[in-house]
Symmetry: D2
Subunit: 277 residues, 4 copies
């Protein structure tokens, strides 16, 4: 199980979420927790929107906790939208091209989960990728192909629908191959304007996903908490696991649901796999 | 242009060919030569047959010249058949899974060259790989897919024929895509018994390939050379570039030719691309 | 807290101890255990005696669990004496030169523990290293300087005495600097003939250390266990943490004790820090 | 021989100097040149002043030419003062802690050259480092110790004088050890306000160093050159080797000289080793 984090709001240093909280993403990469039998030490990535239209990407195949470049960078830049990911490999090699976020044009994508029986489904998944996108696939993970399938199935026009068609396609491939519960996922997708996140699995166990309460409410709940002071009113964090224990801070996203986070707040949607177009 | 080296003979330490000669493979990875505008610093690999039926593999994405593990290992093991490769990437990422030799079962494969327009041909090449081998492709190079295509086209039964069909397939794909000269290659293949090597390119410029003269002749030519003393009579080295300047030591392999090196000596064959089965 | 393992006996593949047991060293590098809040994912090393007088070394700064080279190598070589180590960094950088075992001539050294306040003691420790050995220090860990201090204080002539003087020196430096409990250690040292191991700490909490019972006794205890069948009678394993749960297999080494493991069996000694010569 | 580059002026993307010129620093890391027998492929570093008082650092032990993170980063950030370095190791390990620029507080340091007989001088050099700085030395290069010696000898108060005392100290150590020509160096030092650079060697051969002509003159010389258009009038580049061939663009710095580059232009000074205080 990987861990990931997305932020939308006024510009902050990624350090504030990656390193500073009690159970920061970097702590989550290393320190044992009840639902974490193995570390998320198989590489990491940070994708952020800064001075350009396209996001910048920083990937490394080393564990995040010991990486000096990430520590430097995440205290030096500021960004109003970024995605970070720490990886626990589920069979594919530990290398930069297998690190999330995956990027294509203006888009970034992160995934926590797996495709069961990926070895048997990989070829059919790759064949379904739009031919002109095929050579842009850089690594060998199930996650990256999920991204390219969603791009193939219309993600740029309707991100949630593109993801639902990808999920539907994986479900049907899995069914044809006799794989009982092929898909386990929480995913985050962004174009630099909005952050889309979905939580879904074929079976009853679904990886967790949370988003933070609005900052105004938090300030009322915790008037003494200085860390909420400089966050903008619309700032939101989406996480696979809470960064701190603070009642009222985290809203769980239901299994089979998606959210869209933007300047106007958080919109909730059902997430239902559907056949690809 | 990469550089590679294969050895067949009585067991020696790979160090004797990788480090000791004036223009050793490791020197070839780093030190400028007239036909080497950029270094072969994008990773390396050593595959050798030792205590098991299957070969052992050591890969690293770092430059060979600074790697302490390679230096240790190549002075500690001894092998009667090994392949070594230093890489100059031609567009695909610098990572271990893109390092030669590529291995599958008892087989090892190395390549020096490229497929022109690989970005446009990659999908069709991947689709032609035998479906049950598809998920064994670990990296993203043209070289690895060439290996899997040759495996698909019968390499285990007839290595040279498998390579010829692979070359024919690449030529026909290239022609269909309007690529004038799609293939540039010297390749080395082995099952631990024999070393097969071929030299071919679509156009008039073909990467070089040499094999060493038989040791008896060398001893007569250079009675004072101690380094030939402990090599067995049947020992042979195949190299993309000579390791030392010594008249009579290296036989050039003609473009459009292949050799088979085994206990019985060196057999020469034509190498002519042919349609895949 | 790092983890390490030493083996003395008839030649075996390191794989048999590094990968095969339920709680193998590689599993110990990754999978949570009650006394392991963070993984041992900051590099690893394997040192073994093979075809030469001096040991061979393989180091990597990547986590051991995902390293394909280690998996290949440890199934290909066989050795009658080897030391392996998985690292959890305690402040110094994650890099190959900080990975154990450290080697000097015929000697190898591994350490599990730390020197408290090493930042303040490092200079005095380095100054005490024999001047002609100073430039052989390759990394920046407390562990490596401990090894060089022991070498300075006579380790090659009397390994346990050299280690005791090193411990005494660190204790006295710590006392002078007002550090209450400066030293925490289990160490393993070998010259390729015998394996020396010691367990000591300044305070009451001391990292664990075990050695395996003699194989004859184990065969009587577990006549059905095939894994004991091919081990030689004198084979012994020294570990910082048991590799499997099997009553009677592991003897704890007392705090303030050392052992010497050789062809003649296991000798136990007190370990008492003493002033350096 | 390493290569390095410093920039002072209005904020630009490092990419403009690292990647865009015909003979950019990244090209210098890889492509053969008459005075470059081996590549500068043993790691690299970028240090820049951005949103904070202290510089940000990005280091990697991989060759610069294949590093995707450097390409991303150098096109995403903008800085009015940065130092970049590509390394050719001269004996010490290839690892991030041996990559330039070295940083301490507000200061950055890069070096091209070597100390002859460093193995024999290393201990005395380390002993001369101010004791409270000793534990901040992270790597094992001669270059880093040169930086710490200069810091010890007053660099923060008078950078050129600090460097001259460091050079004098190395000369005297070398003389005592019977090393004929111990020091070869061009160095760059900055506090984020000014860039100090010096060129010196014990013997007659001295590594080259250049700084760029003022932009106004260049605009008159090359009115059609668009690349000069957006550089600010005071912008200057200091390089170990020219980035493009353009008559009038590069001023050589004489051996035994130093320059100070700031908002007010370029000041030239003699550089004469002197005894440390």
């Amino acid at each position: 199980m990987c861990r990931w984090l997305g932020y939308v709001g006024s510009p902050i240093e990624p350090r504030e979420l990656l390193y500073d909280p009690e159970r920061s993403l970097i702590e989550q990469s290393r320190r044992h927790a009840p639902n974490m039998p193995v570390p998320n030490g198989d590489g990491f990535g940070l994708g952020w929107y800064g001075r350009r239209d396209v996001p910048a990407l920083f990937h490394s195949a080393s564990p995040a906790w010991g990486d000096r470049n990430l520590r430097e960078l995440s205290g030096e830049i500021a960004s109003s939208l970024f995605l970070a990911h720490v990886r626990a490999a589920t069979g594919t090699p530990v290398q930069e091209t297998n690190c999330h976020p995956f990027g294509l044009g203006r888009w970034l994508f992160v995934h926590n989960g797996y495709i069961a029986g990926y070895d048997r489904l990989r070829r059919d998944m790759m064949l379904a990728v739009r031919p002109d996108l095929f050579s842009s696939v850089q690594g060998t993970t199930d996650s990256e192909v999920m991204f390219y399938l969603a791009m193939t199935f219309g993600l740029p026009d309707d991100p949630i629908a593109g993801l639902e068609r990808m999920a539907g396609f994986v479900e049907s491939l899995g069914a044809a191959a006799g794989i009982a519960e092929p898909l386990q996922m929480t995913v985050g997708v962004t174009d630099g304007e909005r952050l889309y996140a979905a939580r879904y699995a074929s079976g009853p166990e679904v990886n967790t996903l949370y988003y933070s309460a609005d900052v105004e409410s938090l300030r009322k709940l915790y008037p003494e908490e200085e860390r909420f002071a400089h966050f903008s009113a619309e700032a939101r964090v989406v996480v696979s696991e809470p960064l701190v224990e603070l009642p009222g801070l985290w809203h769980g996203i239901s299994a089979g649901s998606a959210i869209v986070v933007g300047k106007g707040g958080v919109e909730q949607l059902p997430f239902v796999p559907r056949p690809p177009r």
